[in-house]
Amino acid sequence: MISKKDFKKISDWLWEIPKSFRSDMRVPARIYVSEKMLEESSKDKSLEQLVNVSTLPGIQKYALAMPDMHEGYASPIGGVAAIKISDGIISPGMCGYDINCGMKLLKSEYSEKEIKPHFDKLATEIQKEVPSGLGRGRQVKLSIEQIDKILEGGAQRLIQQGYGEKEDFENCEAGGKLEWADASVVSDYAKNRGRDQVGTLGSGNHFLEIQKVAEIFDEKVAEVFGLFKDQIVIMIHCGSRGLGHQVCTDYLRTMIPAMQKYGIRVPDREFACVPFNSSEGKRYFSAMASAANYAWANRQMITHFIRKAWKSVLGEKASPLVALYDVAHNIIKNETYLINGKETEVAVHRKGATRAFPPGHSEIPEKYREVGQPVLIPGSMGTASYVLVGQKEGEEAFFSTCHGAGRTMSRHEAIKRVSGQEVVKSLESKGITVKCWSLRGIAEEAPMAYKDVDSVVNIVHNAGLSKKVVKLLPLAVIKGE
């Protein structure tokens, strides 16, 4: 069991487990938390899992964990590993099953007061338009050929077909399309699972929320992002659905026996990995990119459905919903950093961590370049969410920051402690409308099962990984199942 005594304090927000802690560590493990949160972190296996991350061949500088860290499968959720491309590995487990699970934020030109009379209708209509994908609502089945085009074309493919605006992909990580995607390395199993899930929300912690801008921390950046006090915005949280999960399953199955060939040993099979430049590694990287494109297309289609609901409630002449940004929190990207004085190309594995590029970075949309990349952080259901902005100081964490609140309690425990009805009642007493098919799903996601998002965000703000721009409060929560 790892505890506080095993850590070296680097600052009030950063703690380190030295390389000497376990003989198989290749680099130290670092965790962005307050002293109080550090003690909490010792309660599950996440610290041990982080030490396991530090053993991956080719890992550079540190195995990192964000303050919303909790126990995952191989890596803890909230883990970051930058792995040298020339002589390191690529690991599907370090990206996760839900490839390109991420956030999209749509902004309106309306204030809370203007939308308030339409709330209930709007929430009902959005729930009706966006299917969960588990059997309720609209069911459209695409052909394998159509799926192939989405895998290689991402959100851009759907926008070309009329399901969005040019601004939607301009204001999206990678323009909503990773160029190295290749549909031929994605199995028919994965494609079949994806055929009827484009534009579906899924279950678990995935959600849609109608929110308002409750507090502005940085006027200048908020203005560049087009955010103002009391503004109505819509937040989308979901990923690549069954298709992404199948890609991860398929490649773990390929890599487990292949590891022997490459002489790689890992502490847990879920970490199965191969050299980045091996044939299996290259195929996985292209399959992962394809699943990431599918996820961007999924969030794009959901955006299309939301806009449909928006117009049907507010009228054809209602001012449109514009995408602020769309960013992944489960993904592997090639990025270049100065490491030991040398420009080094690394595959940054972010598992439950959000990329947060600083001002001036060439990979962020021109309109935001002067201030930095928008970072979208959802809170737990019914609590605050945040828009942050990337900072230069974030380089020490490979420009990564947190991705949410982070669970502290199991779903089972949450159901035992609180009923769905009680959660709905407590949210409604705060003026929040809840639309959900399953009361059990609501109980599982009860706010008490999560860390406090405000403290998580304060850590990344104080540590300089990303700076607070605005705080968002929910007015309506819409869940799949």
Binding site: G72, L134, Q246, L252, E270, S410
Partner: protein, 134 residues
């Protein structure tokens, strides 16, 4: 003999299954997974043939469950039983008894290898623990 039990896990679904034989262990773990999907609107369905090859018994269990999960998701079916025609530590062939469903109440998204345990107990019976991503 108890077929399976749900264990505590912070974010996902962890099942411990039991069996007099390896075949029964595989069947009971499958039942644990299928029953956790809380399907509604069950009707008569089709049988599906399966064939799996894996490096060892633990991987065979995970790969078997992944195959069943895949079939369940794309066909909107659940499987109540499996008849094995061949069963070794690295290979299995069999037929699943399927039932059509209208919808699932829980979306099991993947079967993981994380913390996988499979062993024969002193009394000769079998036990395994598998973590499912939900």
């Amino acid at each position: 003999m108890k077929k399976y039990e749900i264990l505590e896990h912070k974010a996902d679904l962890r099942i411990r299954a039991f069996g007099e034989t390896k075949e029964e262990l595989f069947l009971n773990m499958m039942k644990g997974m299928m029953e956790s999907m809380r399907s509604e609107g069950i009707k008569k369905g089709e049988n599906r043939k399966i064939k799996i090859t894996s490096p060892d018994l633990g991987a065979l269990l995970v790969d078997f469950l992944s195959e069943v999960l895949y079939l369940s998701q794309v066909n909107k079916e659940i499987y109540k039983d499996v008849r094995f025609k061949k069963f070794t530590d690295t290979e299995l062939k069999g037929e699943l008894t399927g039932q059509k469903v209208e919808r699932f109440g829980e979306d099991i998204k993947a079967v993981t290898y994380h913390g996988l345990e499979i062993c024969q107990r002193k009394d000769g019976t079998w036990e395994a623990i598998v973590l499912f991503d939900i």
